[in-house]
């Protein structure tokens, strides 16, 4: 038991991997067994991750469930894992989605099932590892280990243009990460004063790295940011996403949208911004601007799509634009909102892809013009779809609202990090433009809903469109519960991210001295730019 | 004085014969020119007091290697029409120029300036030890070049085996 306690996080990381190894040794061609093992492994992972959530102290600074073992002392990196609130949330999201993902394609995937299950499980391990890693090389290993299983998922079980999409996905994300790798090396080589042992350890880097020059910081930040921005994806680095999503099988899309994209935003929170605070502060206006562009642009793109999955993919661009906007606003509201929005997007868009996957299983088309009248033949599925769509457009009472609201209000009140344009704080402009995304979101999402669910029955609905089966219910109910739970009682989630968010803001936006937290009022013109919001005058 | 004359004779011989090697169309002629070239070179070696090497040059090169060449030429039995005209492409020209230029650069920048001081002549300095004689070279060989010597034996084995394997009819 002691072992379990002290290795809990590692167990969570590698539990799916164990499942994958078992599957690799099972005889081929026995479909049920593979899926069964995969399901058990993912359920076990989820079960193991529950104690993480229970044992987590939301107020604690630093990292919880830390474990540190020698890995390659001669090369200077170690196996160091641990989680903070943000990582915990995303980790839970991942383990939560794990069984759902495996169940989602239970029947649809009939070819090379073993490889499919292995890919999914390895992917899960890689994602969890990415979240938990506290050593930069370890992080990078997991980061890139995500690529291959995803690549196989898209390329082997995807639709017509799957190869193009898979290769594009791989290359695109790879371009960014290799530069990050170099930046990691640079950090390593400057991690200690000359003569002292250098380190890849994130905690140690934060604590003891000698300050970097402004120029170095800038380039390093850009290298990290590029890797993460591609993964997010930030406009204009997003074009791999629609292709990947469109061609991937449902499970692939769910994982991609549900957890993988979050690795990019997570990277910003965990690495790019805290490691290079000065550069981050310099670039947050640009990032925020890109986020806003992403929101509006992504929404407009959605309106031009005829392909159901492509539309949702573009909506991801818009949603993650919100996250980027929130992160760069650097106010407690916005950052917490952004973190929550990561989770929200994982649940909502994951659920969207899940249900669209069910559509596709039945109709074998993603073409919106083939759909229509689904609500008549599959009312329950349509209702679920509608709820998910509503969550996706941020209807109050669903999870989406909390995230978008916090991000927008946080951005609106953000002053110093984002600067101003001719006296108008940029935060306000960004927030207002970003809020148009809320309107546009309703426009395209409800348009999509109408095209699919409503209206007279069209070809797709005529073709053996059946309602949710029991298995499918099992997959959607947890998602619906999560959507409503976060929508109604988000506080536990926000508590988890509170401390990391504070630390991030502290590090980036208020580097000089610790300033009082809490109620901040800023009257325009009350202080020179760079002055943080003053305490509670009203 | 005789040395000078001999040198220039050998020089001309080497250069002309060498040039013939790369100019003659017929490989038999080229091979014969090469033999001539080797002989002239042996002469040059003698001028350099490399007696043993001069002998080896004649024996190994002119005697063994060139016989092998001629043997192969005859074996292949190339007919006249197969000895088609040379085609000098752009890149061949560039390559030839590059070779010439490289060597030229080495001559101009490295070799020309090498002997800026007084020239030592070991053949004169080390006369008692017998510069270049069989005995002296043999001593150097067996006392200080054990490893290369042994490796050379390895090399010759490889060459024999390799040549047999490659030239064998079919595998």
């Amino acid at each position: 038991m002691d072992f379990v306690q002290s290795h809990l996080l590692s167990l969570v990381i590698f539990a799916p991997m164990v499942g994958a190894v078992i599957i690799a040794f099972l005889p081929r061609g026995e479909g049920g067994q593979h899926k069964g093992v995969a399901l058990i492994a993912s359920l076990l992972t989820f079960a193991l991750s529950v104690p993480l959530a229970v044992g987590f102290r939301p107020g604690a600074r630093g990292f919880s469930f830390e474990q540190r073992t020698d890995w390659a002392p001669n090369l200077g990196f170690s196996y160091h894992v641990g989680i903070d609130g943000v990582a915990l949330l995303l980790l839970l999201l991942t383990t939560f989605l794990g069984p759902i993902v495996i169940l989602s394609s239970w029947k649809y995937i009939q070819e090379r099932v073993n490889l499919y299950c292995i890919s999914l499980l390895v992917l899960e391990t890689a994602v969890i590892g990415t979240l938990a890693a506290l050593d930069l090389v370890l992080f990078y290993v997991f980061w890139e280990a995500m690529l291959i299983p995803m690549y196989l998922l898209i390329g082997m079980w995807g639709s017509e243009r799957r190869i193009y999409a898979a290769v594009k996905f791989f290359l695109f994300t790879f371009v960014g990460s290799v530069l990050m790798l170099l930046a990691i090396f640079y950090l390593w080589s400057h991690s200690a004063p000359a003569g002292q042992p250098r380190t890849f350890d994130y905690v140690a880097l934060l604590a003891q790295m000698p300050p970097l020059g402004a120029d170095a910081q800038k380039w390093l930040f850009l290298a990290f940011a590029l890797a993460f921005a591609i993964k997010v994806p930030v406009w204009p680095l997003h074009t791999w996403l629609p292709d990947a999503h469109t061609e991937a099988p449902a499970a692939g899309s769910i994982v991609l949208a549900g957890v993988m994209l979050k690795m990019g935003t997570f990277g910003f929170v965990r690495y790019a911004m805290p490691l290079f605070p000065a550069a981050a502060l310099q670039y947050v206006p640009a990032i925020a601007a890109l986020g806003v562009v992403g929101i509006v642009y992504g929404s407009l793109m959605c309106m031009a799509q005829q392909d159901l999955k492509r539309l949702i993919a573009y909506s991801s661009v818009a949603h993650l634009g919100f996250v980027m906007l929130g992160l760069s606003a650097l106010t407690p509201e916005a950052v917490n909102g952004a973190v929550l929005q990561m989770v929200n997007h994982g649940i909502s868009t994951g659920a969207l892809f899940l249900i669209v996957g069910y559509f596709y299983e039945r109709t074998h088309t993603r073409d919106l013009s083939q759909y229509g009248g689904v609500a008549r033949v599959a009312p329950a599925m349509s209702a679920v779809f509608l709820v998910v769509v509503l969550s996706s457009i941020g209807l109050p009472g669903t999870n989406g609202f909390i995230g978008e609201f916090l991000i927008l209000i946080g951005t609106f009140t953000s002053t110093s990090p984002l600067g101003s344009w001719g006296g108008t704080p940029r935060g306000q402009i960004f927030s207002i433009v970003g809020a148009t995304g809320v309107v546009l979101g309703a426009v395209y999402m409800l348009w999509m809903v109408q095209r699919t669910l409503f209206g007279p029955k069209r070809r797709a609905a005529e073709h053996g469109m059946t309602d949710l089966t029991l298995r499918e219910w099992v997959t959607v109910v947890p998602l619906l519960v999560a959507i409503l739970l976060i929508g109604v009682y988000p506080q536990p989630f926000l508590n988890a991210s509170r401390v990391p968010a504070e630390e991030l803001i502290q590090r980036v936006a208020r580097p000089r001295a610790a300033r009082p937290q809490g109620a901040g009022l800023q009257r325009p013109g009350a202080g020179p730019p760079g002055e943080a919001r003053a305490e509670g005058e009203r | 004085m005789a040395e000078t004359v001999l040198f220039w004779v050998f020089f001309a011989g080497v250069v002309v014969a060498g040039a013939q090697v790369i100019l003659r169309r017929n490989p038999v002629h080229a091979a014969m020119s090469l033999v001539a070239c080797f002989f002239f070179l042996a002469g040059v070696y003698l001028l350099l007091s490399a007696h043993l090497i001069a002998i080896l040059q004649v024996m190994v090169y002119a005697g063994a290697v060139m016989v092998l060449f001629v043997f192969v030429i005859l074996l292949l039995n190339l007919r006249e029409e197969e000895l088609s005209r040379e085609r000098v492409t752009v890149w061949k020209g560039i390559g030839a120029l590059a070779v010439a230029a490289s060597v030229g650069l080495i001559v101009v920048f490295a070799l020309r300036t090498a002997y800026s001081g007084p020239v030592r002549d070991l053949a004169v300095e080390q006369l008692p030890t017998g510069f270049g004689t069989v005995k002296a070279v043999g001593r150097a060989l067996y006392l200080f070049s054990v490893l290369p010597f042994e490796v050379t034996s390895l090399l010759l084995t490889v060459a024999i085996v390799g040549a047999v394997v490659v030239a064998k009819g079919k595998i």
Binding site: Y297, P396, L406, L446 | -
Partner: protein
Amino acid sequence: MEVSWLYLIPLLPLAGAAVNGLLGRWLPKAWLYAVALLVVLLSFCIGLFAWWQVAHIEGETAQLRQLVFTWFSVGSLRVDLGLTFDRLSGTLVLVVTGVGFLIHLYSVGYMDEDPGYWRYFAYLNLFVSMMLLLVLSDNLVAMFVGWEGVGLCSYLLVGFWYDDDAKAYAGRKAFIVNRIGDFGFLIGIFVLYLYTGQVSFQTLKVAPLSLGVASAAAALLFVGATGKSAQLPLYVWLPDAMAGPTPVSALIHAATMVTAGVYMVARLSFLYVQAPGVMAVVAVIGILTAVVGALIGTSQMDIKRVLAYSTVSQLGYMFVGVGVGAFAAGTAHLITHAFFKACLFLGSGAVIHGLHGEQDMARMGGLRRLGLKHTAATFFIATVAITGVLPISGFFSKDEILAQALNTRAFDFLTLLPDPSSPRLAFLGPAIYAIGTVTALITSFYVWRCYLLTFEGEYRGPPEVHPHEAPWVMTLPLWVLAALSVVGALIVLPSHHLPFTWEHFTEGVFARPRGGPPMERLPELVAFGIALVVAWAGLLTAWSLYAPGRALEGDERIARAMPRLRRALASALYVDALYDRIVVKPLWATARTLWRAADVMIIDGLLVNGPAQVVAAVGSVLRRFQNGDVQRYAAVTAVGVLILVYVFLVRG
């Protein structure tokens, strides 16, 4: 006063919605009806109980409060799910649950045969719950939840018969137009939060605000109100929203949801009085909406559309009320309007029900004598109330608004431009009064036209349709509402001293507008006289054109006299087409163009695949160099040697 049971008021309908929505398909019909009706009734009873308590507390603290839980709290932002039951919200709770219950009851009859009845009642319950949350919430964010929640229900109910693309579209349009308004609402919240750090009404009330901030916040919030309450320029969704079942139109698009904007402005009266300029805008928008709505109403042939434009118009009156600072008058009209407009809509519903779905007044007529006695009678009463030909509820509440507009001094100190020398806006009040009076005439005209065309004269419908009266579950609510339309007059009697009048009752709830107490520009009795005359003028005009037996002659005469105007009005002044041309189409076209040009071509084609293709092309060109000629290879090697030698010897 803190109580712990207030949450039951919105929660019960929510529970009903959950039960009906999740299990409705399998529940016996009667059970489902019971659940749906009982939860609303229970809410009503609790509301009544609470109202009774509140009514007995004097002064500004006349309210019940409950902090249900802290919804979320981040940084300095703290959003509670807090409920406040004061005299304003309490009364609205009663209206919502009361009228809501009646409409539920009515729906039992109306929707009985629809296969989606369980869905319908779930939505309706949900709507009541959300509306109650909107009304009761003690802060802007929670209000926004209800605000969007009712929007959602509106979306679901308007598009209830989603098989019809047009109806689904109408629902979508309602939601999206509302969202545009909500956008303003959100930004308004942000502005208030930025400058005060607060979102709850209680603390906002005492927070000092500069004129600019107050104006910005008030204006932005009002944008939300224009969306929700169908004011210019965002009213276009409401007529289309008539695609939903008629009880829905009655409840959501007449009695409750669409008045949320008015409620919000009244709730935030403390904010609006700090922004007199915005109040002027509210009033102007209100009166313009009123007159536009009324004008369009004159030329509609669909009975529900007539009522829809009428609603738009009446909402305009309400905004005039709150805009001129007469919050009590505005909200009073809200209440009375809830009664008579619900009655009208339900009446039209009964007609449609009786005619098996017929909505075109051209195919109605004479229904009073064809058996729809109750319907005709109640419709008549409600018509009287709305047109004000007799001094019952509508007469007084509307007149009070117009009088207040005439007499207000809220605009006396306003100038048109920030420049103090620019013209003052003191004329605004009287101008609004004048327009409002004309509008009243038009209103009287078109509502009577509607009544006459529907119930009087000869039946013009197809002979195979046999009109029949609705069952008692439908007529009962009609009668109750008709009665309320009459009795409602009590609370709006123009006496400031009667203890039961609305104005008296809500003393202390609303802030006082700046500019001092109203001055009497016209004697009260004269104003009454004008109002009566105007109402009767409308009635007589309508009679002269649409008197029984004349069938549709009136319309034809108008069309002959003013063909272009008539066409324009019948097409709702082409506003929809205009929006389509300047907003909707360009937006979609932009999206498509941007996708093709920016995304596919520039970003993906040029910047992403471009380099890849260039690299591939360079590779496949370069490989030609590797032509298999060993001497070329040797030559390249020689060149390499040359380079090395050069670098080492010459450059080294």
